[in-house]
Symmetry: D2
């Protein structure tokens, strides 16, 4: 959230979610938007997560950048600390960190980047959780996180297509984003009851889910989130 200049959609969505990833100014957002989003989140009892990114405002953080470990550690602490300071000024606390875009993807495919981010969280504040893409090797990640003294949150994307190997279908490919409310709801129900989702090829993919992610730039975001919220409160 806090990615578009017009935050009226964010305000409509807030009552229906539990956790909000806030852009920290490196791929989108700016200090005053972060301040406003925190106010909204607080009013709705929503947990606040930092959404740090490579410094690529122009490319919305979607381009991988060749950063050293030291650069990654520093940019994660910088952005999370900036958001946390704004949280503090509202009397709330940063709850978790979820890297954005290319930084998230790189974290999931390059273990050194995962370690750099885990180190950043650990050095800044061990009470803050790190959110990663739920996959077949969650145990391996949990063991590494343990070494850094931090906890993980596993997320499943409600509105992105998965390959059979558990990775996301890239945005540049057809069908990468599920924009129909029905598809998303079906996936959520399946995950809740059976513990797996369907891949783009129709296979069953078992996934641990601490949280379900819907992208704010999905045209159907509001109605999808309302439907998921209803589903969650019926059960």
């Amino acid at each position: 959230m806090g990615e578009a200049l017009d935050i009226s959609l964010d305000e409509q969505i807030m009552p229906y979610i539990d956790m909000a990833n806030l852009a920290c100014g490196f791929h989108a957002g700016n200090p005053v938007m972060m301040h406003q989003s925190i106010k909204e989140a607080k009013a709705n009892g929503v947990s606040i997560g930092a959404h740090p990114s490579y410094p690529d405002l122009e490319g919305f953080g979607r381009r991988e950048m060749e950063c050293s470990v030291e650069e990654i550690v520093s940019l994660v602490i910088y952005q999370s600390g900036a958001l946390d300071a704004l949280c503090q000024s509202h009397g709330v606390k940063l709850n978790y960190i979820k890297p954005h875009g290319a930084l998230y993807n790189t974290m999931m495919k390059d273990i050194e980047v995962f370690k750099a981010i885990a180190k950043a969280v650990s050095k800044y504040d061990k009470n803050i959780k790190l959110m990663i893409l739920s996959n077949a090797h969650n145990d391996k990640y949990a063991t590494m996180a343990d070494k850094y003294g931090i906890s993980l949150l596993y997320e499943v994307f409600a509105d992105r297509a998965y390959k059979d190997d558990g990775s996301l279908v890239p945005r540049s490919e057809r069908g990468a984003v599920l924009s129909s409310k029905e598809e998303v709801l079906q996936r959520a129900k399946l995950l809740q009851k059976e513990g797996y989702i369907k891949t783009i090829n129709g296979k069953n993919l078992p996934l641990q889910a601490d949280t379900l992610c819907v992208h704010g730039d999905n045209a159907q975001a509001l109605s999808i989130i309302q439907a998921l919220h209803k589903l969650n409160h019926e059960n």
Copy 2:
């Protein structure tokens, strides 16, 4: 400090100073440079100050921007919090905040901007001090700071010319920067012994001084600072 890509000058200066204003990425600097500067400051027992700016990387923060009070409060907390988080990861603490460039000048000429910055400091952390330009009305500023529950530090510029009214000669004017070591030393001695400095017109200007500022981009910065350091330790 942390304003130039090549931080070797910063490293040379660190042993001779007591306080370092670190650029926070809005007019210069970036997370990894901030991280490196903190490491150097810590190694030399130097107090760390945030040097927040208008968001103007291209113009080095020297252009005034039309920001609302809410924007100023947010951008000061954002930058200071980012630096403080990096400090925290090194086991040190942000000591004070000194606005940079146009934001500093606007703070000294527009009382609403001063209040916005004082509010930012107050909402973020009341133990952090706010550094302002020492002037004839320090009492007035102290009274306002009191209302926000924060403390002020008064600084005198060692290497900038003053007008008779206590304001700085703008950089665009001739003689704005003192680049001779002798001139600066003479000013420091006069201030130490007599409590005043000479304005550009030769008048005596009494000024309270908690700290003496030398600009890192002054070509003579290193030798000026070494001389001031020697002067200070002779007494």
Copy 3:
């Protein structure tokens, strides 16, 4: 146009417009988005205008910045030249320049800024037109433009409320944006038939109109533009 990451709305709008103002990377947009917008504009026979801004990507160019005449001249030439070069690589030519946001507003309230922009256009390419807000003193502006050897285009905002003095109701005030298709159509018809529009207070405001502007971030942009296109082709 070229202001949002998702350019699908731009693509839908292109068939219904005659002129497109393209963001040049200083308040929004980036080189590859500009390249794509030019391709779309060319395919639809739409005239291309540069939409240069203060360098404020973070604030969408909506904050006035204290720039010297030399800075304004340079930033207008830089952005217009960058877009024109991309046009050239597609075998088309930049047609006009319309400053964006705060730069546009400052141009209309500070004659020195208008002159700086006129000078920029003149020094770069006298065949490129400068678009300004149509007002009661168009003659005065035309005389000045003449001195710089350039031509003006007068625009009326289809979707922004006007004060009685011909200035725009600021976005921060209620009713600043007309989002109902009917209101906009009524204004367009009135302007076409009678040569005036209604101010926010209901007064008649006569305005010369070379072009009618609808903002791309208006939620009703597409349907408003389709309706205006239909109106225009019925007559």
Copy 4:
């Protein structure tokens, strides 16, 4: 040039050089600095080259970014066109393009990036030359450039150490930059008389040289350039 806020060094260097690479705002520089550098270059009869970069103002363009061919083509045309427009406003013309930092390195190691840049130059203006790192395979590059209808300039770095394979010793390694005037002069003489330089291991490396590059951020830049200028005019 045009990379540091203080352009006094640039002004001192201008009389001693034949070609100047001007930063175009993506890794350093801004429109008004470009405008001033052009003025200086023109006054000294110096050829002007564009120095386009990945969009990484924060990292000085030294980090590789994962850009598509379309993105590279667009960002090269954007930056070169912006500079050329400013040149045009001074009645001079852009002479050549030399990519900066990571973009330059990527161009020399990834042939697809070289082609993207050649395509950009070709689509924008075939009279503009492309400057590349002189190496053992200059013929191969010339053949490719031919297909795009453009000409190449081969440059040798006066102040950077070379490996035996003709690539540059990375800045992160010891001895990457030659900062002694004597070493640089010796290299220049050897190249002029014998057509080769010495690698970091002392081997002879034959190199075609249309131009000799000295980095503006080399602490000895001015004295090195003056010595090279003298050497050149003695012969």
